[in-house]
Amino acid sequence: MSSPRINDFAIKIATVNGTGSASANSLLMKSIFRSGIPVMGKNYFPSNIQGLPTWYEIRVSKDAYVARSGRVDIMVAMNAETYARDVKEVAPGGYLIYDSTWPRPALLKREDITVIGVPLARLCNENFNGVRTRILMKNICYAGVLAALLDLDAERIRELLAETYARKPQLVESNMKAIQLGYDYAREHFECPLPLRVQPLDRTAGHIMIDGNTAAALGCMFAGATVAAWYPITPSTSVMDAFKSFCDRSRVDPQTGRKNFAFIQAEDELAAIGMVIGAAWNGARSFTATSGPGISLMNEFLGLAYYAEVPAVVFDIQRVGPSTGMPTRTQQCDVMECAYASHGDTRHVCLYPSNPEECFYMAAQAFDLAERLQTPVLILSDLDIGMNDWMCRDLQWDDGYRPDRGKVLGAAQIEQLERFYRYLDRDGDGVAARTLPGVHPKGAYFARGSGHSQYGTYTEDSTEYQIVVDRLMRKWDTAKKLVPKPVVDGAAGSDVGIVSFGSCDGAVREAMDVLAASGVKVDYMRVRAFPFGQEVERFLADHERVFVVEQNRDAQLRSLLTLETAVEKSKLRSLLHYSGLPISSSFIVEGVLAEVSPRPQEQKRDAAHG
């Protein structure tokens, strides 16, 4: 039996969706979090509503590693259907907890792990009535077992239950009873705690546990977004749900009950983006949230917004493609689609948040960028960031913030103009001033997706057409200066670099520590936006070999870097993870060592993109 491992292990809980295990899992998460111990939770759920296998992974990490560890130390196998593979997954020396009401010697013959059988069903059947209740309580019960085995503070759990069921006190009792059942049974029958256990720390002060979609919604509210139009799609739906509930709390006039926001469930994504564009054209901060299929449907309208120069903010909470793909699994597979969405010569500003904290700040930033640049801004989050619970620093808001509406002329300014020309670049930055309806008759112009001159008139003339599309490229250069710069860690001063983005960040940073420990030092640049600015160019130029780490099959970030920077692609090596589960640090470590160590080079999936 291995020596004690304090605050550094991973638990995986296998259940069936729709059986209330969610509350048990968050109970465990939060109680660990409140003990001051960094913790991460990831939910692998099916694309259906009830009755299919679902897993929840809890990583306790004193070093605050937020990525999937890639190893399971404790497996709580509550789903007979998946026993077999769940058992396999336990790391040697690990533990398996299962419901021994029905013993399964056959399935459990692994010498290298410790099996802990708890008759959860029996305990609950003896103590609770009603089929549904018994099922639910079984799932709370294992939380009690874990509490005992891991040495969690029972008081903290009660306190959490009290908060959760503030409005339903009777539930606090029944839940606590279930907890107690498991807790006591474990203490009676096994030596508690296990060598794997938690010990209070002080590493979570000033932090919160939040998912990216909730944080993004908060960002939209604080940015002053007033029109939200959307069509439901997993995993983006919770962005809109959260925005609505935040606004229902903060944006409703207590006297009149009037709502200072319009929340529109559109008939589809074409309509959703159309509404966003219509609202933004008319001067409201507006946004939508969707996922891959929605982006595909928004292609035509995104081209209109690019060419007619209308701001728009679009969240793409990426999921596994192509097509419907795996709606409840994660990938970073819309990078190219978003960068160049629509026919013709089009290109769009993209932001790449790496965690909920950044979802919050980038959401606000996106509105300023969209209005300053008068163009769509797409925020590429993903299911892992958007729907999983992440520990991150408290969100801050500067009360001095005021929306940057960009070049919008007011009545007085228009009045002074000899004439207003919508698409005339007066400042040389490629951005022309716009006007809003209802302000001044002299400010009126005709927005269109068809050919137009810099004066805003319809044209089929080559020169007039080119003047406008060439200016759009000047605007693009301006964008390079305005978008968030990459985060560069050049501490190692190595000639080997890693470039990555978004939800890969945690895994990359953990991998760097592991690599460093094994004597391989690498620098790291996390790209945060498209187009790429000087800093990105510099990092690529300064490193001889660059690993591009991303979560898709076709090396989409690498492709974008190849096209839109000066780098020669020969020095960009891809590490591609596209299983649908969040990338783990071990994947990156192995990938790097395969090339940087003397070991024979492994062929990686990206060969085709050589």
Partner: protein, 352 residues
């Protein structure tokens, strides 16, 4: 702060409306449509209606999709913003624009192709939301801009210029809108300005989605013998069922309307319209029955026109449904939108 458009150098003798503006000042760019195109007559009717209602030009928002019809938004009220969007998706642009600032007058102009084919879904859902806008379909039974293919409003048996006959049943926007519970549904003919202008004025005053399906012959591709959307055929088969009079606020209703035969409808801002039955058994207030009657007459090749259904009371307009405030969202002060750092702290407490 609003402005009255500066009169362009206009002949002093030209009549002015209460804003002191002449008709000219409600016109737009020169039309590039074919000489004789029905759409141009509708443009003229819109100009007339806006001038008579003395709308502030800058308060008029003109929205359209793609098509010859959709081009016409450039041909009226040059003092108002226009958005010529993409094919069939104008309703969603209108929805967003309206959500951003409910104080403006939204005029959507579309074609039968733009509305009934590619745009059918958005059209139906704009009706369902009872978006406060005037939606005009310039209906010619063909795709004009792409050179004369049948549209979804082509009647069974109508002949294309090249001789082909259409066998697919048409989608009638009027019946469709009534079925979907539209609160203002009219039908007219580009050649009948007398009927069209008051209809447009009423539609602009209606508090909700006002649909006017205007038969507007395409002289180039659908005005020939054998076409059921030609000027000739339309003149013969279109039957006014309801006469609409628009009564501005200032004018009193004169008593010389035979009681009973006329039905006054009070619009949102107090202006009134008077409906006079021309077809005795037609009741524009009974939606289902009216629709049945329209269909009955259709089977005999007669198309009823006029304000075929209006419901100013029972239906709730988009902003009422959303409980948004009276002042526009697009100018809402930031203070009213952000709970600030204190508010944020409170919110975060739930995530520990």
């Amino acid at each position: 702060m609003t402005f009255i458009a500066k009169p362009k150098v206009a002949h002093p003798s030209l009549p002015k409306n209460v804003l002191g503006l002449t008709r000219r000042q409600y016109e737009g760019a020169l039309s590039t449509l074919c000489a004789g195109c029905g759409h141009d007559s509708i443009t003229a009717a819109i100009v007339e209606a806006c001038w008579e209602l003395a709308l502030q030009p800058q308060d008029v928002v003109k929205l359209s999709g793609i098509g010859c019809s959709s081009k016409t938004t450039a041909y009226f009220v040059s003092g108002g913003h226009g958005f010529n969007s993409v094919h069939g998706r104008m309703p969603s642009i209108a929805t967003g624009a309206n959500a951003a600032n409910r104080k403006l007058h939204f005029i959507g102009v579309s074609g039968d192709g733009d509305t009934l084919s590619i745009g059918l879904g958005q059209f139906c859902h704009a009706i369902r939301r009872n978006l406060n806008m005037l939606y005009i379909i310039e209906n010619n039974g063909v795709y004009g801009l792409t050179k004369g293919q049948f549209s979804a409003s082509a009647d069974v048996g109508t002949k294309a210029k090249k001789g082909e006959t259409n066998f697919q049943p048409p989608i009638d926007p009027v019946l469709l809108a009534m079925t979907l519970g539209a609160s203002f549904v009219g039908r007219s003919f580009s050649g009948d300005k007398q009927q069209l202008v008051p209809l447009i004025k009423a539609g602009l005053k209606h508090n909700g989605f006002a649909l006017i399906d205007v038969l507007s012959p395409c002289v180039t591709f659908n005005d020939h013998e054998g076409s059921t959307k030609s000027y000739a055929y339309t003149r013969e088969h279109y039957e006014p069922a309801i006469h609409t009079d628009f009564i501005p606020l200032e004018r009193e209703i004169t008593a010389n309307y035979a009681e009973g035969a006329t039905l006054p409808v009070v619009m949102h801002d107090g202006t009134r319209i008077l409906l006079r039955k021309l077809d005795a058994d037609y009741d524009p207030t009974q939606r289902a029955a009216a629709a049945a009657h329209i269909q009955e007459r259709m089977r005999h090749g007669e198309y009823l026109t006029g304000l075929l259904h209006v419901d100013e009371k029972t239906q709730h307009e988009f902003h009422e449904l959303n409980a948004t405030p009276d002042e526009p969202l697009n100018t809402m002060p930031y203070e009213k939108l952000s709970p600030g750092s204190k508010g944020l702290a409170k919110i975060l407490s739930r995530y520990r």
